[in-house]
Point group: C2
Chain length 412, copies 2
């Protein structure tokens, strides 16, 4: 049958990565591919106890429908939490979402007409690319530097995009320990981003799934905290500090925006799971959340260090081979010499029983074929050492197979 | 600030009903307004036990991310369940959704370009109206008869809509105990609907939240079971037979359609809650589901009978006052004489400490101001008797306040 699908389905694509992930699921493979939290970070005993209690003794609130904007006893502590971090969002400017991915969907749904421009980093989070593409956005890639987007390039991109007839609407950023690069934006760049947003009448979408998982250095205020004008939409998720299987997060922003988001969320799923909201309420009320986050950050610090040490030890010493040194989060990012295609290399890696995520799908401009993402969150330190040893071998073989020597390594 | 919202936000509306519901929440009011399942139908003890067990002993599956299409051990028993009812959807033609409302959102997202036509009953489920409006559908209302849509009117509407330049795409139906009318489609009309769909190249979206809750008469095969051609998309939900707070359902349909739905679901929320999926898996594996559904149907049969008896006793005897006699589900539907506006009447009802849902928002053609929906699912039989007595009084006062006598009741 000839299905008359909507036009938006032609730009919507399923993640290549998810297809490739299937290759990496064999148990003998040490995988740095999936961006999954370490299951030992799930507060199982506590959760089991409060889940049983909520279901047995509070079923009118845990098993029944709830409001579209989400339970007030969840929005209130979130508001206080955000305030501790300098972000001023009263509960009526917060809507509970089915994790941050739904926040992205709703932002796209509320703001994007086909062709409207969204500015994203090169590379950027794939789920954001998918959410914006599903609403036929014009995605404009802006090069990433160690301390955030190249903001000169952003300014130029906004202007040329407008000239080309597309309405610039959103800048999507993950300022803390970005997925996939691990980069963190400087305070200066955060401020300048807001300046550009004001000048060019853009909204900033600040996604902060990893913000609380800083394991080195001092926190830098979120863009939403530096924003005096109310141009920032904040996306929060419980996935990395509680449990991703609950699909729980929040969107916060200007009041008018949040009202539109609630209207469209009602049409999208009526409300987010009452039970899971109740579990998060109990988590925020009764659990040592700060201690728990510290525990997770400590765990990932160890694993990240293990990976950085292993990379230093096992990767070929070549200036053209570089990786980031993240101050938090779950990921680091590797650049290999031009000419190495990490998608092709993945098959060699799988032969060597190690896996990663290819970099290209994180780039909206078709570049990044020589890059890859390593997640240090789920493997053990021992597996990290062994897996990176294998990866070093893979890269060595790829270098050897390059058609012609690419110089002496003096030029990246 | 002047937010540049997407065009679709101008057609997206928050439900008036939800705003009016706030008026009805005072404890002294007997409310037939909300469409909430009776909380005594939630299998609390079982759920508490398996939730604790899944969280403690199966956290890799219950608390971690899961696949976008949903867990296979959930799609498999759903496939078998559908098969028992004559519907042939193998597991790879089923996607787990965050309840049926997300199914509606995804169908709209996959099929609708702005202006595309969706045919709905007069009246129809408001959540469907919202989902389709959010994607700028042209909603075309088709009169409802006791045994289903007026299919002559549907044929005419499809043709005139096409002539007007809109592409007819979907017919949305709730064939069993429709929300809000309580009507059930005859087998003949189900077959004729498929014939029209084939002739006019339409897809049927069959929403069946209440199908399993039949308490009178024999089941009629679902449209999806009568469909030999694969033109039906089925929306299933656990909300009325398990617990709505889990936000769990499924969409089943032709393979190509389901593939598109999965692609767009990935962009929408990555996946539906793993924990809640695991709870449903255990429910289907270990609970006496058939017995449980029988228990719910018995409960609602009693309540529905109580309401029908109370209506016969307390409503003014007037031919222009009519109500449906549903064979299942949660709702019945009342038509009052033209000239009575049930929205205005609601304030009088609240004075009399009884509440209902006004009918007009269920009509996409602006009609229905003399109608209202009564839910018999949550009130006790005692409250049903007293609440309908109050409603009878309200209607009597409204009749008395009508500007001029409207005849002797010989003409409706």
């Amino acid at each position: 049958m000839d299905w008359m699908f909507a036009e938006r389905t032609t730009s919507a694509r399923r993640s290549v990565i998810r297809e490739l992930l299937k290759l990496t699921e064999r148990p003998e493979i040490i995988s740095f591919a999936g961006g999954l939290p370490d299951p030992q970070t799930f507060p199982r005993e506590f959760l089991a106890k409060v889940a049983a209690d909520e279901i047995l003794n509070n079923s009118a609130k845990s098993l029944q429908y709830t409001t579209t904007e989400g339970k007030l006893p969840l929005r209130e502590p979130l508001s206080r939490w955000f305030a501790q971090d300098g972000m001023n969002f009263p509960p009526d400017q917060i809507v509970v979402t089915s994790a941050a991915q739904q926040g992205l969907d709703l932002v796209a749904k509320v703001f994007l007409n086909p062709g409207d421009a969204v500015f994203v980093a090169l590379p950027t989070y794939i789920g954001a690319i998918q959410a914006f593409q599903a609403f036929q956005a014009t995605l404009v890639g802006v090069p990433m530097e160690d301390d955030g987007m190249d903001l000169g390039a952003l300014r130029a991109a906004v202007r040329s995009t407008r000239k080309a007839g597309h309405t610039p609407k959103l800048v999507y950023v993950v300022p803390d320990f970005q997925n996939p690069s691990g980069h963190t934006w400087s305070r200066g760049k955060r401020l300048e981003l807001l300046e550009i947003a004001r000048e060019e009448d853009l909204l900033v979408v600040e996604d902060m799934p990893y913000r609380w998982l800083r394991f080195v250095g001092e926190p830098i205020p979120p863009v939403a905290a530096l924003d005096k004008e109310g141009r920032t939409i904040l996306l929060f998720t419980f996935s990395k500090i509680f449990a991703p299987g609950l699909r729980l997060g929040a969107l916060a922003g200007p009041k008018q925006v949040v009202e539109k988001v609630v209207t469209l969320k009602q049409a999208t799923d009526l409300c987010t799971s009452s039970l899971n909201q109740r579990l998060a309420i109990r988590f925020l009320q009764e659990y040592d959340v700060a201690g728990h986050i510290q525990f997770i950050a400590d765990l990932y610090r160890k694993k990240c260090s293990a990976m950085l040490e292993a990379l230093a030890r096992h990767m070929p010493a070549e200036e053209r081979i570089r990786w980031t040194k993240p101050e938090g989060g779950l990921f680091l990012w590797v650049e290999l010499p031009q000419g190495i295609n990490t998608e092709k290399m993945l098959y060699r890696a799988i032969e060597h029983k190690v896996a990663y995520v290819i970099g290209a799908p994180f780039f909206v401009d078709g570049s990044g074929h020589n890059t890859l993402r390593l997640s240090f969150s789920s493997a053990s330190c021992q597996d990290i050492e062994e897996g990176i040893r294998r990866l070093g071998q893979v890269v060595r073989e790829e270098l050897a197979a390059l058609p012609a020597p690419q110089g002496t390594g003096n030029k990246g």
